[in-house]
């Protein structure tokens, strides 16, 4: 394991100190409890958005703090949900009187810790709504599982709900936009190589030289199947097939296509995958009207990628296009 770190125990604190130093124009960082907050928070009268979860998925969530997106991000230890204290502190720091939306990826730990924080915030008189993101079609959603996981689609929810809050929607409206985005999107990931959690010092799983994992989770959780390495186009076709069959995307639909890197895959390869995904959707009559390619929801140095498809309508498109000014997503200002 070769990592550009000092002490594994200090990874998160040192990284957020770097975030603070690099993006002082956008955000500031609180330590103990740790959270990252928009410089102008609390924005009076605006619904505030708070997200968070284990670290190691950067730029998620801290890279999306700023105008038109998150008001605060709460980074837990690497791959471990934060405790309620920093979530509560961040919630209090950003509440501008119009309530706070918690955007939570569907993992038992994240759900429970955010739930406790929300209860404590409500007890302090802050209105909190929560939306649980579960876009990963690799995992069967059934009564017999903890449900689908929240993965790369989270960035789409944060952007679009953030734009709704920024234009002045109330808490109910922002929450229902977030729910709608979550309902209309599906994702699936693939790993070519594993990642290594700093304090663990060994890979989260093993893959042979000619194997890949289809349906990988963003913490290296196993996926649907392990197969032999294939050409990029076949891998994309597989993944896209699972996505399109899960939510009945139909010919004539307009979609946002996100090809997300897991952290260790070069951009040149992501574009090769994007090319095939766009081509295949065109063949199916599905129109790609908005796009995003790059490392947005990562898994440390894992090599691999995920595809997310979000069905768009005029409102979602308008909210996607609305100005955003964060360190990792920026346009319109």
């Amino acid at each position: 394991m070769k990592k550009l770190i000092n002490d594994p125990q200090h990874v998160v604190n040192e990284a957020i100190a770097g975030v603070a130093a690099a993006h002082a124009d956008i955000l500031s960082v609180s330590y103990d409890p740790n959270y990252i907050v928009r410089n102008d928070a609390p924005v009076s009268g605006k619904v505030a958005l708070v997200s968070g979860g284990g670290s190691g998925h950067e730029p998620l969530h801290g890279g999306f703090v700023g105008f038109g997106m998150l008001d605060a991000a709460v980074p837990g230890p690497v791959f471990t949900s934060p405790t309620p204290d920093p979530i509560l502190a961040a919630t209090k720091a950003v509440d501008g009187g119009a309530g706070v939306l918690h955007i939570v990826k569907n993992y038992t730990g994240d759900v429970l810790n955010f739930e406790t924080a929300a209860e404590l915030a409500e007890a302090d008189g802050i209105s909190v709504r929560s939306v649980v993101i579960n876009d990963d079609v690799a995992v069967k959603d059934s009564l017999y599982t903890a449900g689908r996981r929240g993965v790369a689609g989270t960035v789409l929810v944060e952007k679009i709900a953030g734009a709704a809050a920024q234009r002045g929607d109330d808490l109910e409206a922002v929450a229902s936009i977030a729910e709608k985005v979550n309902a209309q999107m599906r994702s699936m990931g693939v790993a070519l190589s594993p990642c290594i959690v700093p304090h663990a010092g060994e890979p989260s799983f093993e893959l042979a030289d000619d194997e890949i994992e289809i349906g990988i989770g963003i913490h290296g959780e196993p996926g649907r199947e392990r197969i032999k390495l294939e050409p990029a186009d076949s891998i994309v076709d597989r993944v896209l097939g699972h996505i399109v069959e899960d939510i009945p995307f139909a010919s004539g639909d307009r979609v946002l296509l996100l090809v997300n890197g897991m952290g260790g895959t070069p951009l040149v390869e992501l574009y090769i995958a994007f090319r095939r995904a766009a081509e295949s959707l065109a063949e199916q009559g599905i129109e790609v009207t908005r796009t995003l390619v790059g490392n947005y929801v990562t898994s440390l140095e894992m090599q691999g990628f995920s595809i997310t498809l979000l069905k768009l309508d005029d409102e979602l498109t308008e909210l996607w296009d609305a100005p955003v000014h964060t360190s990792a997503l920026r346009w319109g200002r």
Binding site: F79, S81, T83, T108, G109, T116, A146, S204, H219, P222
Partner: protein
């Protein structure tokens, strides 16, 4: 003669020790069917309990459990933090105001802890979670108490049942937590949370024994 706050403290101190001692093993159990951090998480929490316990000069058993609850909630994170936190919080509530815990109180303590975990995590027996250690422990404690056993015997019965329960998670398919994503591939692996629960319940008996 019931168990005092001395016992409660000793239990916590022993818990800190056994969790540290078994940290790597718990993380190793979490690797194939989870995300490989359960030992790290638990150890972070119990390590943080120690200095706070030193500060708590005296108090009832409930005070000790409440302190553990608040510390775990604010330091463990992940799934285990809120689950164990709620367990200790509800346990504290069940014995509030008492200086000594008799057999009945011990049954109430364990029952409340288990119910707290279910309240938060909604797991049933057989879903390959820490509940598969706690529910047999509660049942064994209830039975031992009904049979008129001593406090020590009740704790020992619960510890043994929890250990058996943890082992019994091995053939199960998981339906809660991260392991549920694996379907049949979870078979053959012991649940890390059930294992840490068994360690904690054994510690409770060990310090009463001494």
């Amino acid at each position: 003669m019931g168990l005092t706050s001395e016992w409660a403290r000793a239990w916590v101190i022993e818990s800190v020790r056994v969790i540290a001692e078994n940290r790597m093993e718990l993380t190793a159990l979490d690797r194939p069917i989870g995300d490989g951090d359960h030992g790290e998480n638990m150890n972070r929490g119990f390590t943080a309990v120690m200095p706070k316990l030193d500060d708590l000069s005296d108090g009832t058993p409930a005070d000790v459990f409440k302190l553990v609850a608040m510390t775990l909630i604010s330091t463990v994170g992940g799934a285990a933090g809120p689950l164990y936190g709620t367990a200790y919080l509800k346990a504290a509530g069940a014995v509030a105001g008492r200086d000594e815990l008799d057999g009945e109180a011990i049954v109430a303590l364990y029952t409340a802890a288990r119910d707290g975990i279910v309240l938060r995590g909604k797991a049933e027996v057989g879903e390959k979670t820490m509940i598969d250690a706690w529910t047999p422990a509660v049942d064994a404690a209830t039975e031992a108490h009904a049979a008129g056993k001593t406090e020590l015997a009740i704790l020992l019965a619960a510890a043994e049942a929890a250990e058996n329960g943890a082992v019994a998670t091995e053939p199960l398919i998981a339906r809660k937590g991260r392991a549920s994503y694996l379907g049949e591939r979870a078979i053959g692996h012991r649940d890390p949370g059930a294992q840490s629960s068994a360690l904690l319940l054994r510690a409770a008996a060990d310090v009463a024994d001494g």
